[in-house]
C-alpha cells in the first residue's frame, strides 16, 4: 500500500506535539481503511483496484472524513482511498507526487499551484456546473489558469460580528444595520458598563481577519481594489490613483474608531483568551469567524449567540459578510489516477454529503441546490450569502511576503495609520518590481 511519507518539516515547528498527533491520526486512518478493506473484500475486490491518496487540511474534520472514506471504500471496489492529513503540500508538488485529491482551505498560497497549471481541469464534470457562479468566482480572485476550472469550492466559512443576544436584548439594542446605529449601540453598551467589543490584538491574525477585513470589506470592493493594485504594480504609491494609503484610508480610520470600544487590555489578549472571555460574557460583540463558535461553546454551551455583518456605511444595502473558501476540491495534473480521483470527487460532491458536512461544521453550501444553514448562530448571515453580498478578506488576498497582519496589528495598537499604509504600498511596489 503506497503511503506517502510524512515529509520532514524544515521549520522549527512550534507545535512539536502536532506531528505525534498526526502520527496517531495516521494509525486511526489505517484502522478505518483496514475495516473498509474488510468490507470491500466480501464483494470480491482485488483485481483492478486503484489506490489514491486524499489530502485533507482541516484537522478537526479528519474523523468525519475518515468515516466518509471508509464508507466510500466499502461501497465499491474500483477505487481505494487513503486519507492523508499530514503530508507537506509544497513538497508533494515539488517531488512530483502530490495527493490525487486535495480538499483544502483555498487561499493565496494554494493559488500559486493553480496559477502554474499544477491542477487539472474539472470543468467537464457535471458537479462543476452545480457550483454557484459567484462562489466559483471567489477562486478566480486569487489567480486563474486560462481555460480551466481547476478548483471546486466545497464549503464556505462566512464570518461577521458574533454578538451576545441576551446583552443586546437587555440593553434594548437592535442588530445595527448602519454605521451610526453601530456606534450608538457601542455607546449604549459602554454606558451600561459593558465592553462593546472584545479585542485580541496579541494574535495579529485575529485583528486582520476581524476588524480589518470587515472594515475594508464593508466599504470597498475588494477584488476590484486588488485588480487595480495588480495593474499599478510598481507604480503603487502616494501618487497612484489606487493605493492602500488612499483607497482604504477611510475604512482603516473607522476601524481605529471601533477599536477604541474594545477592552482596555486588548493588546495583551490572544485568540484563546478572547474565546473564553466572550463565552463568559465579558463583552457584547466579538469579530470572529464560525471557527470561534465551537471554542466558545466549550466554555458556555448554552450561550445564545447571533451574527450580523459589520455595518460600515449608513446604507443598509451595503451590508456584506466576509467569506473564505474553507474547503475546496482539486485534482493535480501530476496525479496518475485522475479518473479514480474524479470518481471520489463525485462522491464527495453529492449534495447530501456536502449538506451533512456543512451542517456539522457550520459551513455554507457552495452549490445552487445546497441546503440553507439551520444553526441559529450563523443564521443571520444566510440572507447576505444567498444574495451574493460577500467578499474575501483583503488581509488574506495579499502576498504573504508582506507581513500584513503585523502591519494591521501595529495600526490597531497605535501606530501612525497613513504612514503604515504607505509602508504597505512601498512593499507592494517593491514586490511588483521583483515579481
Amino acid at each position: 500500500m503506497p503511503h506517502p511519507p510524512i515529509s520532514p518539516s524544515r521549520h522549527p515547528n512550534p507545535a512539536a506535539g502536532d506531528r505525534r498527533m498526526r502520527g496517531r491520526l495516521g494509525i486511526a486512518g489505517a484502522v478505518v481503511l483496514a475495516s473498509g478493506l474488510a468490507l470491500s473484500g466480501c464483494s470480491g475486490a482485488g483485481s483492478g483496484t486503484e489506490d489514491i491518496t486524499f489530502l485533507l487540511s482541516k484537522p478537526e474534520a479528519v474523523p468525519y472524513f475518515q468515516d466518509l472514506v471508509a464508507e466510500f471504500n466499502g461501497s465499491q471496489s474500483e477505487v481505494r482511498v487513503t486519507l492523508d492529513s499530514a503530508s507537506n503540500l509544497s513538497a508533494g508538488f515539488l517531488r512530483g507526487n502530490p495527493p490525487d485529491v486535495g480538499l483544502l482551505n483555498y487561499n493565496y498560497e494554494m493559488a500559486r499551484f493553480m496559477e502554474r497549471g499544477a491542477l487539472s481541469d474539472l470543468s467537464d464534470m457535471p458537479e462543476a456546473d452545480r457550483i454557484r457562479p459567484d462562489v466559483q468566482e471567489l477562486v478566480d480572485q486569487y489567480a486563474t489558469y486560462p481555460g480551466r476550472t481547476s478548483v471546486l469550492p466545497y464549503s464556505v466559512a462566512a464570518a461577521s460580528v458574533i454578538y451576545n443576544v441576551q446583552m443586546f436584548e437587555e440593553n434594548g439594542i437592535e442588530v445595527p444595520t448602519t454605521w451610526d446605529e453601530l456606534i450608538a449601540a457601542c455607546d449604549t453598551l459602554e454606558a451600561a458598563g459593558i465592553t462593546p467589543i472584545y479585542g485580541t490584538y496579541k494574535d495579529a491574525w485575529t485583528v486582520a481577519q476581524g476588524l480589518f477585513d470587515y472594515s475594508v470589506g464593508g466599504t470597498t470592493d475588494v477584488p476590484e481594489f486588488l485588480a487595480a493594485l495588480e495593474e499599478e504594480g510598481t507604480e503603487v504609491g502616494p501618487d497612484s490613483p489606487v493605493s492602500f494609503q488612499k483607497t482604504i484610508l477611510d475604512p482603516v480610520l473607522q476601524m481605529e474608531e471601533l477599536a477604541a470600544y474594545s477592552n482596555a487590555d486588548a493588546a495583551s489578549r490572544g485568540y484563546g483568551d478572547g474565546n473564553v472571555a466572550f463565552a463568559n460574557g465579558e463583552a457584547a460583540m466579538y469579530l470572529q469567524g464560525p471557527w470561534a463558535l465551537g471554542e466558545i461553546a466549550k466554555t458556555s454551551p448554552d450561550l445564545e449567540l447571533g451574527t450580523f455583518p459589520l455595518p460600515m456605511t449608513n446604507d443598509p444595502d451595503d451590508l456584506k459578510v466576509r467569506v473564505n473558501l474553507d474547503l475546496a476540491l482539486w485534482v493535480p495534473e501530476a496525479s496518475n489516477s485522475k479518473e479514480a480521483a474524479r470518481t471520489f470527487v463525485s462522491y464527495l460532491m453529492q449534495q447530501d454529503v456536502m449538506d451533512a458536512y456543512n451542517a456539522a461544521f457550520l459551513g455554507f453550501g457552495t452549490t445552487t441546490d445546497a441546503a440553507p444553514v439551520t444553526d441559529e448562530r450563523i443564521l443571520g448571515m444566510q440572507e447576505y450569502y444567498d444574495a451574493g453580498e460577500f467578499y474575501q478578506g483583503l488581509s488574506r488576498s495579499i502576498p504573504l511576503t508582506i507581513p500584513i497582519d503585523n502591519y494591521i496589528q501595529a495600526m490597531v495598537t497605535g501606530a501612525d495609520i497613513p504612514a503604515t499604509l504607505a509602508t504597505i504600498d512601498a512593499d507592494w511596489a517593491r514586490l511588483a518590481l521583483r515579481g
Partner: protein, 321 residues
Amino acid sequence: MSTPVTTAAASAGSLVDEAEHGRTDHLAGARHDRRGRVRVDPIYYWFLVPTLVLFTLAITVPAVLGIFYSFTNFIGFGDWEFVGFTNYVAAFSDPAILASYGFTFGFAIVTVLLVNVIAFLLAVGLTAKIKLKAGLRAVFVIPMVISGIVIAYVFNFLFSNSVPALGSGLGIPWLSESILANPDLAWLSIVIVTAWQSIPATLLIYIAGLLSIPGEVYEAADIDGAGAVRRLWSVTLPLVSGYVVINMILGFKNYLNVYDVIVGLTNGGPGTSTRSIAMTIFTGFTGGDYAYQMANATIFFIIAVAISVLQLRITRGKAAI
C-alpha cells in the same frame, strides 16, 4: 604592589602555555614509521566517513542549492529562470530586511553582554566556597534542559497575565501593561527570555574556566596582599579571558539565529518591531518567495562566516583555551 601580582598572572599564563605544548606534541592515533613520517591508521578516516556523507547530504548540498536558487526567481516549485543579482539588489533596499538586521544585531549585542555579565558573576559565586554549591548549580542549569519554545510560551503567559496583574495589584502603572504589547519594549522581553534560557550554558563554561585556575595563583596574590576585587580583576579575569571570548562569540552567533523564542513571545510583533533575520528568511518558504529569501539567507551566511573567521583569529591568538 603591582609587580608581584603581574608575576602571578604571568606564571599562570606560562602554565597555560605549557599545557598547550603538551597537548599539541602528540596527536592521538598517530604513529611514526621507520623514516619518522607520521603514519595514520586508516580506521580514523573510516570513523569520519558516515558523518562526512551525512553532513554533505543534509547540509552542504542544500546550502549550495539554496545559494544557486538565490540567483533565480524560483518560488519553491515549477519553472524558474536566472535573474542574476536582482534578488540581492532588492534585498539591500528592502526596509523590512534591513530592519530585521538592525533588530537582530541590536538584540544579539545586548543579550550577549547581559548573559555574560550575569553568568560570570554567578560562576564566581558558584565556585567560591559557599554552602549548597552543588544544589545551586543544579538549579541554575535547569533552564538549559527546557525547550526554547516552551520557555517562550510560559513567559508569554507571565508577561501577558501575571506581571500586569502584579503591576495593577501594586499600583505600578508601567508594570500593569503587558510588555509584549508595547512596540518599543517588546524586544526587552525577548532579551530577558533568551538570557534566562542561555545563561546556564554560559555559566557552565565559566565554571569550567574558573576551576581551571590553579590555587597557587590565588595564594600568590593573597601573599601579595590583593583584595577580593583586585583578585577578580587582575587574576581571575585575565586567566579566563579565553572563556570570555568563546562565550561572547558563540553566544553572539547563536543570538543572531533567534527564532523560536520570538515565535513563542511576540511572533514578530507588535507590528513588525521584533522580526528577526531568521523569521524574515522563513517567510520565503511560506510566502512563495523562496529565491529572494535564499539571497537573504546567503547574505546572512556570509556574515556568519565572517564572524567565525574573526572568532578563529582571536581564539588562535592569546586567548586559546
